[in-house]
């Protein structure tokens, strides 16, 4: 059964995310081809793969920012549709871009996004997420003055504003120093009951964080690994095999 084709039974709890036969093409180039998988509620899924594998395109489709050429993406049992934006209430997104305005302060940016998401008591919620990401003392500063790490924290604060059930993170560790990574890990630890999908090139950290991994290459799923059962070393070997590169190159590329 494809998502959105038939109603889900009253007793059945739909998966947090259901990707059914999804393809995304740009002209003759196919970025993602016939992908199907589900993500259970409360689990953390890692999307691994080399540059240009289609991870970001896939994540953008999960966020509703890119429309699949074929297939459906469902969140909480509801297929993402262009004319129905209510599903976005349950999704928080962090991409390479901060999605904030350099001309407004961090607090003003959050207040603006809180308003768009219909957050109750936006002032209190903004202070709360600023504290969560460790930016309370920089709330009155503009993101243009922030370092890369601080900008990423603000981006995370924006994504957490509406208390989403599903968090999508594109390369969350890239460009972060050790302290910022530790802070991010603390935030994600507090996200235990939520569903997280992240893309990363950091195999070690990704394996530690995720309960399941999909290895994507040239727009296809090359491996689907239960990380609770398979160890880090075993996954690295699977990863190498899936993307078809020699060990030394892989080790260099993924670290």
């Amino acid at each position: 059964m494809k998502s959105g084709d038939e109603p889900i039974g009253a007793d059945a709890v739909p998966p947090a995310i259901d990707v059914a036969d999804v393809t995304k093409s740009y002209g003759h180039f196919t970025a993602v081809e016939q992908l199907s998988f589900t993500v259970e509620r409360g689990s953390t899924l890692g999307l691994f793969g080399p540059n240009g594998a289609g991870k970001t395109t896939l994540l953008r489709m999960l966020a509703g920012l890119t429309r699949p050429t074929e297939g459906t993406v469902s969140v909480d049992g509801v297929a993402l549709a262009p004319d129905d934006h209510t599903t976005y209430r349950t999704v928080g997104v962090v991409t390479h871009e901060t999605m904030v305005y350099d001309e407004l302060t961090a607090r003003e940016n959050l207040r603006f996004h809180a308003g768009l998401h219909g957050v109750d008591d936006p002032a209190a919620r903004c202070e709360s997420v600023l504290e969560t990401v460790g930016l309370s003392h920089r709330g009155s500063d503009r993101p243009g003055e922030f370092s890369h790490g601080l900008r990423k924290r603000l981006s995370l604060a924006r994504a957490l504003l509406h208390d989403p059930q599903v968090l999508l993170l594109d390369e969350p560790y890239t460009g972060l120093d050790q302290r910022s990574v530790a802070d991010l890990e603390t935030v994600l630890d507090g996200f235990d009951d939520r569903t997280v999908v992240l893309t990363t090139h950091d195999l070690e950290r990704g394996v530690e964080r995720c309960s399941r991994a999909l290895v994507v290459d040239r727009g296809r799923i090359e491996a689907d690994v239960d990380l609770d059962e398979s160890g880090a070393a075993s996954f690295e070997s699977t990863y190498r095999q899936a993307i078809g590169v020699d060990e030394p190159e892989t080790s260099e590329a993924v670290r």
Binding site: R60, T66, P82, H85, V93, T98, M99, Y101, D102, L104
Partner: protein, 224 residues
């Protein structure tokens, strides 16, 4: 409905807040418009006898250049840091984002147009009567709405598709020709007391059509 209007208001308020702080759009566009008026003054004042002809020429040339520049600036704001994506992932109707951007762009273009009208009076001796000037302000307002309605769609299309900024005027100007034609002819008719009928219908109908077309197509324009 209230959340739809609320979203329009928030996008408009955010743009005005940023503009109040940076004055990036109005200052640069106003300087640009004044340069057009001054160029007209230096070039034609000695040779052209009709201040009315000179004034409305400068007014509409400044309008189209300043409008193009203004719409680029307001959309550039959404292009930086992927800010537009931040709006698109919000649980709001995307046409509310469109209307918010059209409103803020209209405010900027209209404000600069008023300044340009004043400048034509000072530098070119263009002095329509109070009632004519008020009617011209109305024409400028409707034209600014139409220009913004087209400009927001075309400039987002340009930015999202990775086209060069230079492609914007090439795509935009042919689409705003009916607005300019109606605007120039209406200004002339208002000064001479000629009937407005056909041109006024063209201006209002075209503005209405492009606004509705923008609302209907924005969802697809922002899609990748």
């Amino acid at each position: 409905m209230s959340s739809f209007l609320g979203a329009i208001y928030r996008v408009l308020k955010k743009d005005l807040q940023i503009e109040r702080r940076t004055k990036q759009v109005t200052t640069t566009v106003a300087v640009f418009a004044l340069l057009v008026v001054l160029t007209f003054a230096f070039s034609f004042v000695q040779t052209l006898q009709s201040a009315a002809l000179l004034g409305r020429g400068a007014l509409w040339v400044a309008f189209v250049f300043a409008g193009t520049f203004g719409v680029t600036k307001t959309i550039e704001l959404e292009d930086r840091n992927g800010a537009l994506d931040g709006l698109l992932i919000a649980p709001i109707d995307r046409s509310a984002i469109y209307l918010g951007k059209v409103l803020s762009t209209t405010v900027f273009i209209f404000a600069v147009s008023l300044l340009t009208l004043g400048a034509t009076s000072v530098f070119l001796g263009y002095s329509p009567s109070m009632s004519t000037a008020a009617a011209i302000v109305g024409v400028l307002l409707v034209s600014a709405v139409g220009f913004s309605a087209i400009g927001v769609v075309v400039s987002i299309l340009t930015f999202r598709s990775g086209l060069d900024e230079l492609a914007l005027p090439v795509l935009l100007v042919p689409l705003v020709v009916p607005l300019l034609l109606a605007g120039v002819e209406l200004t002339a008719a208002l000064e001479s007391g000629a009937p407005l009928g056909g041109w006024l219908r063209l201006l209002t109908l075209y503005t209405g059509i492009v606004l509705l077309a923008g609302i209907a197509t924005f969802e697809y324009v922002v899609e990748e």
